[in-house]
Amino acid sequence: MATPPVPELLKTHLTKLAESDERLDGRGRFEGRDVIVETGVLARAEGSARVQMGDTIVLAGVKFQIMTPYPDRPTSGGFMTSAEVRPVCGVHWEAGPPSPEAIELGRVVDRGIRESGCIDMEDLCILPGEKAWQVILDVFALSDDGNLFDAFATAAMAALRTAIIPGERFDVGEDRPLPVSKTPMMCSYHRVGGRFVYDALRREEIGGGERIHITLGDDNHVHSLQKGLKGAFTAAEFDEIMEHARSRCAELRDLVNN
């Protein structure tokens, strides 16, 4: 993504709004947009989901391949996440090799899931040292009106939780659900008009500062953190965000698990 020229007017406007604790679309500082989760939306994927948060729409698809386990983990399967944010989803996203932003998106979503241990990698073993399932998670943005991070993370978990390992097609046993034991969820915060807000719109991202992404597990354990963009924040600011993330992640988890 080419960095858009920061419109100073937008920045000023956002600062003004912040003074009366308002936001562009009338939400409160820590209020999220409505989240709609649909699963089973992709006919060719073994697990899939569509998530809509306002005008942000994303897809997630889970595919399986058979891999040779790594020599140092002969009984482990694999997991990889690919986020190619293509120019279809917004005028500010350009064609070409993955931008640093897209790379970061994929890596942060991947880490939250991987580090939570929600997928039992040992369960993906087919034949020790020879064959194991590789889970490939592709997240795909259709419409970017801000906060792709959370949309991707939510769609990813919804797709994984409904994925079926295609044993029959690969002639290695019966089809069975991918075992996903936990539901790590991500909440993202942007500095807008001086203070952090939750679930930023695209225009808040453009006129805002640094962002913080938090992935929490079922038991509020921290699995992944990422600070992005230029900016400095205090320990007190972080504590406030973390407290909100604990309650909001639980809400999102309910949405995905049901």
């Binding site: 006919a43 060719r44 899939s48 897809l59 595919k63 120019p87 917004g90 490939i136 795909f140 259709l142």
Partner: protein, 241 residues
């Protein structure tokens, strides 16, 4: 083209594996305005195919070396999403998608009034979400609707359909299963009003007579799809366009 003609894909009554007659296309549904942040957008669900198109612009063309002094350039990208096929597709352009992007751009340039926007660029993004034979045709059709949805002036709308041959019989609009055993593929892009062609490819084997039948099947499919396109645009614009 596969060409394993010993698999029987058409029964004695001329009925195909999915119940269609020779000249019948798959069920089609079209919706416009499905990507909120785009200037125009559409989805075409054609059988199991699910293809999305988004249009951005006209906008300033940069870098400057791609600018045309007398018209807008159409920057078209056709892409298959990694999860669109049974075997996952690794991201990144390949020769096939480059060629399809090129012929699609050339088809659309033939109807868009690009001379109204000198030095500018119109981005057309075609994404295949689910693929089931005939994605390039569905892509051109979707892009045509998305351009109209974006309010880009055009002389005509392009509808694209392909006919083919299977078990030695010419049929319209091969589905995936048929395509695996198909003996020919003739995709065409036709202007709804003028009847002129702006897109044409073909591969396989068609005798002069078979070729004519395939050509005619395609031509017959244009009008009903055109109706659906107009209907989608009407719905997207509150029914009063």
């Amino acid at each position: 083209m596969g060409g394993y003609s010993d698999v029987q894909m058409i029964d004695e009554n001329g009925i195909r594996v999915d119940g269609r007659t020779a000249g019948e296309i798959r069920p089609v549904s079209i919706n416009a305005g499905i990507i909120p942040v785009a200037d125009g957008s559409a989805e075409v669900i054609w059988g199991t195919n699910h293809v999305i198109a988004a249009v951005y612009g006209p906008m300033e063309a940069h870098p400057r070396k791609i600018q045309k002094q007398d018209r807008a350039v159409l920057d078209v990208r056709y892409n298959m999403a990694p999860f669109s096929t049974t075997d996952r597709i690794r991201p990144g352009f390949n020769r096939r998608s480059r060629e399809i992007s090129k012929v699609t751009a050339e088809a659309l340039e033939s109807v868009v009034l690009t001379e109204l926007y000198p030095r500018s660029k119109i981005r057309v993004e075609i994404e295949v979400i689910t693929a089931e034979a005939g994605t390039r045709c569905a892509g051109i059709t979707a892009a045509s609707v998305a351009l109209a949805d974006a309010g880009i002036p055009m002389t005509d709308m392009v509808i694209s359909v392909a006919s083919g041959k299977i078990n030695g019989v010419v049929v319209c609009d091969l589905n995936k299963e048929e395509d695996n055993y198909g003996e020919a593929d003739l995709p065409m892009g036709v202007c709804a009003n003028s009847g002129e062609l702006v897109f044409l490819q073909m591969d396989g084997d068609l005798s002069p007579e078979e070729f004519q039948i395939a050509w005619d099947y395609n031509m017959e499919a244009i009008a009903p799809v055109h109706e659906m396109m107009i209907d989608a645009l009407k719905r997207s614009n509150g029914g009063d366009e």
